[in-house]
Symmetry: C2
């Protein structure tokens, strides 16, 4: 099984709308020394970069933040509007 | 099994150096209409954003681009320098 099975897992099919989705995952392995937590600010700036290329509505972004065994995981799921 | 098993899988342990790693994965589900491929430019800009928060050497970045079943996957693996 590859990582592809986990990326973009929820496929929404619609007869009339072909939506495009973008998923950004940032995983940070924290060193034992810690250091500042910059993921929340990073998240905002990543979205600003994505907006240069595609239009993104604020309510089309789903954000999740998780922690597990020394890792911080930031997950952004973005539904892009239908292209004209 | 969760996605955490696939993120940051190669753990390097060293007695003297505690390195921190950052992994960024961008998955783009392409609509049937296609559209411009902006992932290479996006990759450069994402790195510029990350550099605002942590120092990143050019040779500390490993980039992979994959395609599978209608998905484009951009993977950036960054080894951060040891904190002072």
């Amino acid at each position: 099984m590859s990582i592809f099975s986990y990326l973009l897992p929820k496929k929404e099919k619609s007869a009339s709308v072909a939506k495009e989705r973008l998923q950004i995952i940032v995983a940070r392995e924290r060193s034992t020394r810690g250091g500042p937590d910059y993921l929340p600010q990073l998240q905002e700036e990543l979205l600003m970069v994505v907006r240069k290329y595609v239009p993104v509505d604020q309510d089309a972004v789903n954000v999740q933040m998780d922690r597990e065994s020394g890792c911080e995981i930031l997950e952004l799921n973005i539904t892009l509007p239908e292209q004209e």
